[in-house]
């Protein structure tokens, strides 16, 4: 294989891994504070991508054409609105159900996912068809040997790293993060400490959902195409990544995300005649890992939850 192709695979794998990690971090945060699995998470990501897309259309209509301003505003709109959406889902759907069987939350959030998907599909004109996401990042390349490194890919990867570092810093270095970790370990004692439990839960859901929005916008900017069903597979992969890394553990989620992307990439490279089977290959390996390490690669017992 030549360097150009290899480089392309590596960049593509890293980009996918970053998106998966951002989704998986959300799953792991939600499970950490409330012990719930929120299956609408992938569709929340899709809402993030479409919020960004709508913001772009709005800015174009308003006569704002500078890509830098457009991208800053669409990222802000997407993360803020989806963060609020996440908090609202927690407040009105998940918190009222916390005393119900876990299965009910699973079902309720699954149905919510369908609601979000259908709402977007029906709201946008020709919503069933993919939408062209604008190319807002510079399309220049940095030649490295025979390989052309796209500057926009590099920027997206750096942005992803910054988001993950930011989440890590909030969790481990701030008072809010200390409260989140306390709630994750023992919600009741956290309340006795004077922590506003509900507020911490809402903020955690806002953070996790905003991370998914970033992944959605990243997906749009990288592939220049979004569609109403994009959250389905990304949600399942993010969930699998969180599980395989060890649910409740942020580093596990990140590890799981990149592991899944690596498996897909290896699948595509190793099965040149059947690269369409890369997801089959990746999921099969994930299933084997789960059988081998049922509690995940970084199980909760030895690691700090959240």
């Amino acid at each position: 294989m030549d360097l150009a192709l290899l480089g392309q695979y590596v960049i593509n794998g890293l980009m996918l891994g970053m998106m998966y990690a951002l989704v998986a971090v959300g799953f792991t945060l939600f499970f950490g504070v409330l012990d719930v699995i929120k299956f609408s998470h992938g569709d929340v990501l899709m809402v993030g991508a479409f919020t960004g897309y709508t913001t772009f259309l709005g800015l174009e209509a308003a006569g704002v054409h500078m890509p830098v301003i457009q991208i800053v505003l669409l990222v802000i709109a997407s993360t803020v609105l989806v963060g609020l959406l996440g908090a609202a889902i927690a407040k009105y759907l998940i918190l009222p159900l916390t005393n119900a069987p876990a299965l009910n939350i699973l079902l309720a959030t699954m149905m919510l996912g369908t609601v979000l998907r259908e709402a977007v599909r029906l709201f946008f004109p020709e919503g069933s068809n993919p939408k062209r996401f604008p190319r807002l990042l510079p399309d220049t390349v940095i030649p490295i040997g025979g390989f052309d490194l796209r500057v926009d890919s590099l920027m997206l990867l750096i942005a992803g790293v910054l988001v993950i570092v930011a989440i890590h810093t909030v969790i481990n270095r701030t008072k809010l993060g200390l409260a989140i970790r306390a709630v994750a370990q023992d919600a009741e004692t956290a309340r006795i400490m004077g922590i506003n439990f509900e507020l911490v839960v809402l903020v955690t859901f806002a953070i996790g959902s905003a991370a998914a929005a970033v992944a959605g916008v990243m997906n749009g900017l990288y592939y220049n195409e979004i569609n109403f069903g994009m959250g389905l597979l990304l949600g399942v992969i993010g969930f699998a990544a969180a599980i395989v890394g060890g649910l409740g553990n942020i580093y596990g989620a990140i590890l799981g995300g990149f592991l899944f992307a690596a498996l897909q990439t290896i699948g595509a490279v190793a099965l040149p005649f059947a690269s369409a089977y890369k997801d089959v290959f990746a999921f099969a390996v994930i299933i084997s890992i789960m059988a081998w390490r049922p509690t995940g690669l970084i199980p909760e017992k030895v690691s700090e939850r959240v």
């Binding site: 004692t189 006795i192 400490m193 004077g194 922590i195």
Partner: protein, 236 residues
């Protein structure tokens, strides 16, 4: 700094079964008030009711002039209430210092927090040696110190203590009761829930005996020691 806690005819239920059936009691400012009772009498439920963790279904709970019934736990804590929960309940995967910081969660002044941490280290020098150790890896006695220190971090007006001697060696139990007395001497009102009658009555100013969700005896330690029901139940 008054801290009067009054429970009036409190009924508390888990699901539908009443655990507290009309509990009335008073913890007076500056005193150590104890609540004695055997397992399942409703002692922990009383504390949960006061803190709003299991809100009572009927009755009133008043702290000074504030009605606690229906108030969220973090607001009750904000009024100057603090708790050393049963089984210590340290956050196992947080360090000693992080545990202590959580005790002063509603305090925003970093200087005050630092000063209070220093005070806790003065009472428990051992904790300063272990400030960066995860609380879950410490011995039961050390965890008790973390839990007590954490309860003091908010500089509470009133401290609720739920079975501090549970699961500790006799030496630590004795030490613990001394510490509770010292805490009270600093002006903090104490509401102490215990099964260990002798040691509790030795430090309490006033006590109540709970049985099957009802207060069956009340009075000074001398009166309780002389009370036949208490005798039958504990000194047998």
């Amino acid at each position: 700094m008054t801290a009067n806690l009054i429970l009036e005819d409190v009924y508390t239920a888990y699901d539908k079964a009443d655990v507290l059936e009309g509990v009335s009691l008073e913890a007076r400012s500056g005193e150590i008030t104890c609540l004695l009772g055997s397992n399942g009498a409703g002692k922990t439920t009383t504390i949960r009711s006061i803190l709003g963790l299991t809100p009572p279904r009927a009755g009133n709970i008043k702290f000074n002039d504030a009605a606690l019934t229906g108030m969220a736990t973090h607001r009750i804590v904000g009024l100057g209430m603090s708790c050393i929960p049963e089984g210590r309940k340290v956050f196992p995967k947080l360090t000693t210092e992080e545990n202590l910081r959580l005790g002063a969660y509603q305090q925003t002044d970093e200087k005050v927090i630092q000063q209070r941490i220093a005070e806790v280290y003065e009472i428990f020098p051992r904790l300063e040696e272990r400030r960066d150790q995860l609380a879950g890896t410490m011995s039961g006695g050390e965890q008790a110190m973390v839990s007590i220190g954490r309860g003091l971090m908010s500089a509470p007006k009133m401290l609720l203590i739920d079975e501090p001697s549970l699961g500790l060696s006799p030496l630590y139990v004795k030490e613990n009761f001394k510490i509770i007395q010292r805490i009270n001497e600093r002006g903090i009102t104490v509401f102490l829930v215990e099964q260990n009658v002798r040691q509790t009555l030795a430090i309490a100013h006033r006590g109540y005996v709970l049985s099957k969700g009802r207060v069956v005896a009340a009075g000074t330690p001398e009166e309780l020691r002389a009370n036949e029901e208490v005798h039958a139940a504990y000194f047998g």
